[in-house]
């Protein structure tokens, strides 16, 4: 019976080593029809996509990149469990043709499992450029008839061959090979055969997996399979005895022998199928590495590249962010006002809920689009080119001291721009634990939205010395991050074995435009889908708090903040903040609204202290003018984005002391134009806070729960539990640090 006759959805899994170009093959097959999802019960996210093949709907699953199918890392377990439990109809093993021997190790293990495999020899062009050719037919024959396809994933070469092979296998054609056992030698073969017999005598086990495979895994002392035979003590005992005998006679562990045996077979295969045109001299990648991975030159080059990434996410996206902000705050709000007016609902609670709640919330989501697009562009260029592995190589010694991985540096740096992309940047780390720890720390990197708060307070209290406060805040954030990292890695995760520093350095490649575009779009869209809900809910909750009157003579949606539920909640929280020196309901209230976005702290404060509830009287502009404004605004924003791109260069050169190259300024905009008149707010703040309390308040703002967008990103990537842990921890640390600053400061007489 062929698979296509069954009613089930057809599923194809992509497996392969990291760096074998699996994602380029995935992108080439699915285009933008893909999304990430956590497989039920698994923490590692799987990318899935769809394609249609001769009218059949096919789901394609991109399994995490692994070198092997032992059960050592989360990625390996996910890959193996998926193959064992979900039984995909076809597995496309993507192998790097220029690095075939090492890549065949995983392929052999897939075949041992009895999976229907198609072998895609990817990066054929790189292999050719190094004078390496592979005899496809021979390789296919030696692997028991597995279809072997040549591919260049990032140039879409070989796609139709691959699709044809998939169809063949699905139709039960020549390719559908089942179970290629590992031919073992003498002693291993004998012990293996004995275990196979034991397994075959237990119908329950036999039904679970292929017996020869299971016996092989038992000899490898595979923890997962061992736990499955636990109910059969005689098998466990037999495994132990067999391993003992093997170790005694050969002096080696059986799993080492089995790994050796696989490489021996691979070596024999390689000898017959690989032809090398020239002696293995230094490759182009080696020559590039002589500079980029150099212990001295590598560091400044790395820092320079990271600076570019930071500029890209923090500055180059800013004009578009401002444009989205302006469109939503201007025309969109005005039109909605007009619509409500036309319906006779102006000034009702519904109008308020839509305008102050929903639209504000949507705006809060949309402004992240340019930021994330630029982040994902930078990341996919770094990844696709092969540089990311070198970055980890260069930074590893330094980051290891903090218990982190070399690749943790990038997300942390991006965090100075915005915590949301920083959380997503942790995707570049290889291991789940490293990812979680790094994401946890990103919030302490003071993001761009917190800067205006320090600046306002700094100017109000310290005048020209305000820069000192700003700088101190950044340093305090880094200090807390370092301490938290040590706490997490030395205490919470202390049982996590320190992974040996062994890492593959993939060959350098020209990043592919198509791959980059698909990555930018799908990952950004993913954020919109997954994080938007929480952000919307949060802004509606805050609106509701402000709309519900609890005392005084206000009515629903028309009440002063002080008389609203918001006022009461803030007043209830104020005493908790008293030990930190800012136990007023206004301060507490500003911190609450600051959860929706940190910069809102300032606007709430001006609203609460100055009672200048923004004039919402719609400025009467014509619809045509609005549209014209939106379009010209977009044009302006795009010009400014281009300008920011160009200005990265002078800004970088200007880092050198004594150099001052002017930046490009096409539209003649004045950089300080955005500064609003804040003198009123300054005096209000001076009467509400003592200077010491102001510092403590800033420390609190720096450290407490990141904004709801960042919290949603955390939840999206690492689940509700880790998100709540981070929220609780940051709240506790913020409170503690603010209290320490205030109390110690008072003791010192400040």
């Amino acid at each position: 019976m062929t698979v296509l006759m069954t009613t089930q959805k057809i599923r194809i899994a992509l497996a392969g080593n990291p760096n074998a170009g699996k994602s380029t093959v995935f992108n080439a097959l699915t285009g933008a029809h893909q999304h990430t999802g956590n497989w039920p019960g698994k923490t590692v996210a799987l990318q899935t996509g769809s394609l249609s093949l001769n009218g059949h709907h096919i789901e394609l699953i991109d399994l995490p990149g692994t070198y092997s199918l032992s059960a050592f890392s989360a990625e390996e377990i996910v890959t193996r469990d998926f193959i064992l439990d979900e039984c995909p109809d076809v597995i496309v093993a993507v192998a790097d043709a220029s690095n075939l021997e090492r890549n065949l190790y995983l392929v052999l293990q897939l075949l041992e499992m009895g999976s229907p495999v198609i072998l895609a020899l990817n990066m054929w062009d790189i292999a050719e450029s190094r004078g390496i050719t592979v005899d496809q037919q021979r390789l296919s024959a030696l692997l028991g008839g597995v279809p072997v396809i040549r591919m260049i994933g990032n140039r879409q070469v070989g796609l139709s061959d691959l699709k044809r092979a998939v169809e063949d296998v699905l139709h039960g054609g020549t390719g559908a090979v089942r179970s290629l056992g590992l031919p073992l030698d003498d002693m291993l073969a004998k012990e293996h055969a004995a275990l196979v017999e034991l397994v075959q005598n237990e119908p329950a086990l036999y039904a679970m997996f292929d017996a020869p495979w299971m016996a092989l895994k038992l000899l490898e002392l595979d923890e997962d399979i061992l736990s499955r035979v636990e109910p059969y003590p005689h098998i466990t005992a037999a495994v132990e005895a067999a391993c003992e005998r093997i170790s005694q006679q050969t002096g080696e562990d059986p799993d080492t022998l089995i790994a050796d045996r696989r490489y021996q077979i691979i070596g024999e295969i390689a000898e017959q199928v690989i032809t090398r045109g020239k002696q293995d001299a230094g490759t182009r990648s080696d020559r590039i590495d002589a500079v980029l991975a150099h212990p001295v030159w590598g560091v400044p080059i790395f820092l320079l590249l990271m600076w570019f990434v930071f500029q890209l996410t923090a500055n180059a996206s800013a004009p578009l962010v401002d444009w989205i902000d302006a469109v939503i705050g201007g025309p969109i709000v005005n039109w909605t006002h007009a619509a409500f007016k036309a319906l006779g609902l102006e000034g009702t609670w519904l109008a308020s809920a839509v305008i102050d709640g929903a639209i504000a919330g949507v705006g809060g989501v949309l402004v992240f689009i340019p930021v994330l697009l630029s982040l994902f562009m930078a990341i996919s260029i770094l990844e696709d080119s092969g540089y990311m592995a070198r970055a980890a190589f260069v930074m590893d010694r330094f980051m290891q001291k903090l218990g982190l991985h070399g690749k943790s540096f990038l997300p942390l740096l991006v965090g100075f721009g915005c915590t949301v992309p920083a959380v997503y940047a942790t995707r570049t780390l290889e291991h789940e634990d490293d990812r979680k720890i790094t994401a946890f720390l990103t919030t302490f990197m003071s993001c761009g939205a917190r800067l205006p708060i320090y600046v306002i307070f700094g100017t109000a209290f310290f005048g020209s010395a305000s820069g000192t406060l700003v700088f101190a805040m950044y340093l305090a954030g880094i200090a807390v991050a370092v301490l938290t990292s040590l706490l997490l890695t030395r205490v919470v995760y202390r049982n996590k074995p320190v992974p040996p520093f062994v890492m593959e350095l993939p060959p350098y490649r020209m990043p592919n435009r198509h791959t980059i575009a698909v990555e930018m779009w799908t990952q950004t869209r993913d954020f919109l889908r997954r994080a938007a809900t929480l952000i919307l809910v949060a802004s509606l909750v805050i609106w509701l708090l402000l709309a519900l009157p609890v005392r005084g003579k206000g009515e629903f949606a028309n009440v002063t903040p002080e008389d609203s539920l918001f006022g009461s909640v803030s007043a209830a929280m104020a005493p908790v903040l008293a030990p930190a020196g800012f136990g007023t309901w206004q301060a507490a209230g500003a911190l609450i609204t600051g959860l929706s976005a940190k910069e809102v702290v300032i606007s709430t404060m001006s609203q609460l202290y100055l009672d200048t509830s923004e004039d919402e009287a719609a400025t009467s502009t014509s619809f045509a003018d609005d549209v014209k404004g939106i379009v010209s605004g977009l044009g302006e924003a795009l010009v400014l984005t281009g300008q920011e791109f160009v200005n990265i260069v002078p800004r970088t050169v200007n880092l050198l002391p004594g150099v001052n190259v002017p930046e490009l300024n096409i539209l003649g905009a004045d950089a300080d134009e955005a500064e609003e008149d804040t003198s009123q707010l300054n005096s209000a703040l001076r009467s509400a806070f003592t200077p010491l309390a102001a510092v403590a308040f800033n420390v609190f703002v720096l450290l407490y729960v990141p904004c709801v967008a960042a919290v949603s990103a955390m939840r999206h990537e690492y689940g509700t539990r880790w998100m709540l842990t981070q929220a609780a921890y940051t709240l506790a640390v913020a409170w503690l640090a603010a209290v320490i600053v205030y109390q110690v400061g008072r003791l010192l007489g400040a």
Binding site: F72, L100, I132, D260, E271, D286, P295, P500, V502, E504
Partner: protein
């Protein structure tokens, strides 16, 4: 088992010089490390070539000719190798 019959002098991989070709004869580490190294292609008998080695920093080595691997010094100390002057690295044709 392989280590005993070696007629050549052995040294730690960390002591090997850039561009030197060596063969892995012993891994002084536990099951986990051996397993991880095996997954990455480093089993006994594998031919290696040192691509980059500076001071006490991590090294870059070529494994099975085509794979480039970064190795921390800590691990490089645990890998015992012997100079490889056999012709196995010449092109197979």
């Amino acid at each position: 088992m392989t280590a005993i019959a070696e007629p050549h002098p052995t040294l730690m991989l960390s002591m090997a010089a850039p561009n030197q070709r060596v063969r892995l004869v012993e891994i002084r580490g536990g099951r986990r490390l051996r397993k991880r190294l095996a997954d990455l292609g480093l089993t006994l008998g594998t031919s290696l070539r040192v691509i980059q080695a500076y001071g006490s920093g991590p090294m870059i080595i070529a494994v099975r000719q085509d794979t480039r691997m970064a190795l921390g010094r800590g691990i490089a100390h645990k890998l015992i190798v012997t100079p490889d002057d056999t012709e196995t690295l010449l092109p197979r044709s």
